[in-house]
Amino acid sequence: MTAPPFDGVTAILVLPAATAAVLAFLPAYRVSAAVNVVSSLATFALAASFFLFKPASGLYFLVDDLNIVFVVLNAFVAFTASVFSASYIAHELATGRLTPTHLRFYHAMYQALLFAMNLALVANNIGLMWVAIEMATLTTVAMVGVYRTPEAIEAAWKYFILGSVGIALALFGTILVYMAARPVLGEGLDGMVWTKLMARVSEFEPALLNLAFVFLMLGYGTKVGLAPLHAWLPDAHAEGPTPISAVLSGLLLNVALYAVLRFKLLLDANAQAIAPGPLMATLGVVSLIFAAFMLYQRRDIKRLFAFSSIEHMGVIVFAFGIGGPLANFAGLLHMTMHSLTKSAIFFTVGHIAQAKGTQSIADIRGLTVSHPALGWSLVLGVFAIAGLPPMGVFTSEFLIISSTFAREPRLAVLLAFGLILAFGALVLRLQGMAFGEPSPGDRRSTASSLPIAAHLGLVLAAGLYLPPPLVAWFQHVAAMLR
């Protein structure tokens, strides 16, 4: 096996890993926060450089149009999230929820997570991808439990157990893929190299592929948070530090989704194997409608938006399941928009929780009166995520629904039903929180509002104008996803 050329790919892996190692021994939390930001920025810069000169792909690493989108998006959100967390944790220290020791661990884990996710995204080897995703899961488990409260421990435990089972299923799927590949590609590493698999998948044993996809879909689907495998997601979002909630919703789900997409491509390329589309579409619709109903019963603001993440993951998976250039384009766009918007919302929620000193929706009232900027950005964020124009999410939902309705009217109606249901729940809660007589608690939040502004600005811009290069890129990827 040839060693991968030392290039951008290695860089975006080595940099976070090294930073993680350093941060693990940095006592001063301010410094480490700064380091965290800088390193994330650097990673983002490196990732962005992929657009200019695409790194070569080797046996272990692969950089193609599909995962560049993911890598860059990840790096960007990771960067903004690090900026947010840098200003956020100070408050956590002040309130004594965290100790400097915890923070050292926290920052180290942050970079480790970044490393794991990048690895998962650029891995060309399905085994390597599997290892990376497991690592990402474990690190996030550690971060979810960082507050050490019973709730946090329980959330982490739930996440850990369900995650491990998912991991196990995914591994079994991976083994099956190898088994299917071996007769064709022969023994050894080739049987796991995605590009080689892709090249000759048409000759693989379809039955094995089907079986493999079932396990992979369930295994990685658990990470994507598709109903009914979603149980870990709300608690994990609610009990961890808010930056981590943002990272979970904005990044980790995407990484798992990326894995699913890869294997979908694999199955699509084999004529005899069952089409993965219907299964994905079904899971997507189920998640969407289920989450929409669940939204009505939420009492905790972070859980509310966690469920909205499930809902949108459903929409995205549905779009990819439906397939076709329009739907795939819409799916990619929706994924991007969702990452930006949802992380922005979680940033806002972090501020709100700090300002009001609570996460309970019932105790948050009249934000637009007591904290106008905060309140209105929450309104903006929720309307964006609820798919109201002129926000980017509307664009993707417009494309998804319209392209589906022309082909699968019933599904489109279900989709529309789920969306309006979720819309109703979100706005119901939003009005309670943003309007009316303000509730007590008007502490100012220390955290910076820059990330929020940046994200919402981007989303708004995307709704009004998508730069042609980006469009062309997405269209190319959409065609590749067929």
């Binding site: 290892v131 850990f160 491990s164 089972v165 196990a168 079994f172 796991m192 609610a238």
Partner: protein, 220 residues
């Protein structure tokens, strides 16, 4: 592949499934651990056999890990935990043993059916092995589902993992098997440490999985 080697590996795999059933049947914690240790031994044997048949040296490592870690270390650790927690009472099953057995049989049948759909040009050993591995995985999961006690949940998880190792070892020339088995050992270790930690931190008065849900998100 000669008939003999085929039969041996077949035999060992079958034994694994058998032990999974025994695990399902077994409802005393200590006995459960012993049976699990036995299953681990059988696993290591079958992996070793695969190593011998395929002439793949790295599989011996996996076998060693399986033996050392699963058949010796973990059972001892769990013994100590149980002793510490004083929960050497019966394992309470969610459903009776009889139904569980039937469900297990059904699962094995299911996995065989699914595997038989695989066209036969994939060599027989792989197929049979996979069928057994799949049943072990499903049985392990079934065990996780039907047992309330955290220790037996861990055991179930590990037997599930045994199935994975079996499959991995059976997959001829599959890379990363060692890494994977190591990774899983880490996973299991963490699980056990988790269970152990909570006990030491005096957070939960029992390791019954129920207690872990006492807060249950936002129920008020």
């Amino acid at each position: 592949m000669t008939g003999l080697s085929f039969d041996v590996s077949h035999l060992l795999a079958g034994a694994l499934v058998l032990f999974s059933f025994v695990l399902l049947y077994q409802n005393r914690l200590y006995a459960l651990l012993n049976v699990f240790a036995l299953q681990a031994v059988v696993l290591s044997l079958s992996v070793a056999w695969q190593a011998y048949v395929q002439g793949a040296a790295h599989l011996y490592v996996t076998a060693a890990i399986a033996f050392g870690f699963k058949a010796v270390v973990i059972p001892l650790a769990l013994h100590r935990i149980i002793a510490r927690l004083g929960i050497h009472r019966d394992v309470e099953n969610v459903v009776g043993v009889g139904p569980t057995m039937l469900a297990g049989l059904a699962l094995v049948a299911l996995s065989v059916v699914v595997m038989l759909r695989v066209a036969s040009e994939a060599d027989a050993l792989a197929r049979e092995d996979l069928a057994f591995a799949l049943s072990v995985v499903l049985l392990g999961m079934l065990m996780m589902v039907v047992r309330r006690n955290a220790v037996s949940m861990v055991v179930g998880f590990m037997s599930l993992e045994n199935g994975l190792i079996l499959a991995a070892a059976g997959a001829k020339g599959m890379p990363l098997v060692v890494e994977i088995s190591v990774a899983f050992s880490v996973l299991v270790a963490l699980t056990i440490i988790g269970v152990f930690l909570f006990r030491i931190a005096e957070r939960f008065d029992t390791v019954d999985a129920h207690a872990l849900d006492q807060f249950q998100g936002e129920r008020q």
